[in-house]
Symmetry: C2
Subunit: 376 residues, 2 copies
């Protein structure tokens, strides 16, 4: 029996052909293609195809994949009513988790796990999830629902359903890039949770539901909300220095910095930074970007030597804010994208599955008697 390794740090728990990460050098590749190439040239739909098929699609393959995805923008009969009967004060991540789970009850054969069937169920969730989030957000705001438009891309359609108007090209592209950047990242906690769950040969809905539940944690996807809250706490750029130094002195965590894997700047943060800067300018949020940038410069001066750099959450906060997303939709956005990665991992796990069943080390008492209750 091995020694107990807290958090399984350093333990190899799966093989993958999807993401390659070199944390020392700050490299992230999907199927061997540098993330910067994909964020510059690809689309979210193409990136998901890449992750699921381990190669880029031909034009006809991409057309077919996109068409299948768009057919799933509309929810199954009965689901709209389910979304619009939820408590309006529910947190969107609790909603998404519950409704992804509910999709399993609206699939006549939810438990099919043959690879091609499982893949179609992944596509169901990928297609339906944005509609769930947008419907819930409009329902809670008391606005009429905007039904999906199959002529639009994944990114365009989501922003359209959310805001009731088609996004500008810059907005849609920025959102699309966020979706590309967040799609996969090795064996992060939610991806690992999805693989653990599917390894009982359960079903795609169970695995994706578990992954959504994991992602909402503040040590994982929930961190991007934390960044925005921190930015909101700082009145102006002039206050950044004292705010950050105060936190560092108190050894408070600076949200959006540091990552278990990266000891260099997260390559996704670099891509997002330019995007955040441009969007901030376009939407009159220059001050927000300036605060972010000032935080990064102070952190560079103070703690970069310790390998603490901005992570993907840091500039995604500014980006999402500029796109007009409310704070509690930040983590659901991460989820919409990561469904692509989770799904790829579910397929990889099913293809040559072995049940995850590690050991626990028992550290309690032995040979304890069952003492009758009146003698305790």
């Amino acid at each position: 029996m091995s020694e107990f390794v807290k958090g399984l740090e350093g333990i190899v728990a799966a093989q993958t052909e999807m993401s390659y990460i070199d944390g020392e050098k700050g490299v992230l590749e999907y199927v061997g293609i540098p993330i910067g190439e994909l964020s510059a040239k690809s689309t979210f739909e193409e990136t998901v195809f890449l992750l699921w098929n381990k190669r880029l699609p031909t034009r006809s393959e991409l057309d077919e994949f996109t068409s299948e995805l768009r057919q799933r923008y509309e929810l199954p009969a009965g689901m709209e009513q389910r979304v619009t009967s939820l408590p309006t004060n529910a947190e969107p991540m609790h909603v998404l988790r519950t409704m992804v789970s509910a999709l399993g009850m609206h699939d006549a054969q939810p438990n099919e796990i043959e690879l091609d069937r499982a893949r179609r169920k992944c596509l169901n969730v990928l297609g339906h999830a944005p509609t769930i989030v947008a419907y819930f957000d409009r329902y809670r705001r008391g606005l009429p629902l905007i039904h999906p438009d199959r002529s639009l891309s994944f990114a365009e359609n989501f922003l359209y359903m959310l805001n009731g108007e088609k996004p500008t090209a810059t907005m849609a592209r920025a959102f699309d890039i966020c979706m590309i950047l967040h799609a996969d990242h090795g064996l992060n906690n939610s991806t690992f949770a999805a693989r653990v769950i599917i390894s009982t040969l359960s079903d795609v809905y169970s695995a994706l539901t578990g992954a959504v539940g994991s992602l909402r944690g503040p040590l994982h996807g929930g961190a991007n909300e934390g960044v925005m809250k921190m930015l909101n706490e700082i009145p102006s750029v002039a206050d950044v220095e004292s705010h950050v130094m105060g936190k560092l002195e108190r050894k408070d965590k600076i949200m959006g910095f540091g990552h278990r894997v990266y000891k260099a700047k997260d390559p996704r943060a670099s891509d997002l930074q330019g995007l955040a800067e441009q969007l901030a300018k376009d939407t009159g949020n220059e001050d927000l970007y300036a605060k972010s940038h000032a935080i990064e410069q102070i952190m560079e001066r103070e703690v970069a030597a310790k390998g603490i750099y901005p992570n993907v959450d840091f500039y995604s906060a500014t980006t999402y804010h500029c796109i007009g997303l409310k704070l509690d939709l930040f983590t659901p956005m991460f989820a919409l994208s990561r469904i692509g990665g989770w799904s790829g991992h579910i397929i990889e796990q099913l293809d040559g599955n072995r049940l995850f069943r590690p050991k626990a080390e028992y550290i309690g008492a032995h040979n304890a008697p069952y003492t009758p209750i009146d003698q305790r």
Copy 2:
């Protein structure tokens, strides 16, 4: 970086003070007390207290714990309507997963994870889950719902809500023992999933929802349904020999035999065997028990030398059938009990948490170009 270990077999991923398992000797203890002692003398309520507190309760502690649990038999306002608007053909495990998730939206502070708060949320789910299962079963059968009765124990109340009449003492005790036996079992897959999810500091509902999703897999909790299906396939005791030998020759899996952990008879199977025999006699199911017993004898003769023995699923199938449970409620019964164990592990994980974040070994291509689409 360690070598890739498929399924994390042999890797110690957590420490626990709850179950001690010696797979070679066929020993299972909860907090040091042999499982046979607990199944003979304890109750499910007391066993859950034991698992959560690492000691047996005094009488007043047990009274208080029981009272708090009984206060939670009734669902939060709005949940009954949610359960009775589900598709009637949904599989109960999909229902339970979705409704445990939905409970998070009926809690004003679902994300509290301070230990005492987390524990109360565990108690919420433990109290509400039987009601969810019983309501759904009666709703799908077109029967009026039976509201819970706080004067009854966990086991009695569940069978009462399901069947509309109070169970016999033998029935209730048999069910209670099943609940005791299934409550915890080291780092099984669903328990591990719960710990992985809560380690992002997500929330109790997310972790328990993920665990339910894991348990429904046929390599885990779903196996007890498989045993019953196999028993149903065999017309009579006289057919057991040819049926089992045929399966062995074809190298088909015999459901309910073999366990990753035990290389001896699962001690829970021993406890259940006596129970199943008695219940079968009481309920006119002698033939079912006789078939089970004949299977065990053939397996003992043929494969015991390879360390393949009956596991907990084997005799729980007969037991649940004799109690009058429909096949697709077998795995939910496992879940009702295991919520006790999952919850204990969630508390243990939160107390000294470290994020689960293992590594994936990348085995794909490197330095791949982003080829423009018309050149693919």
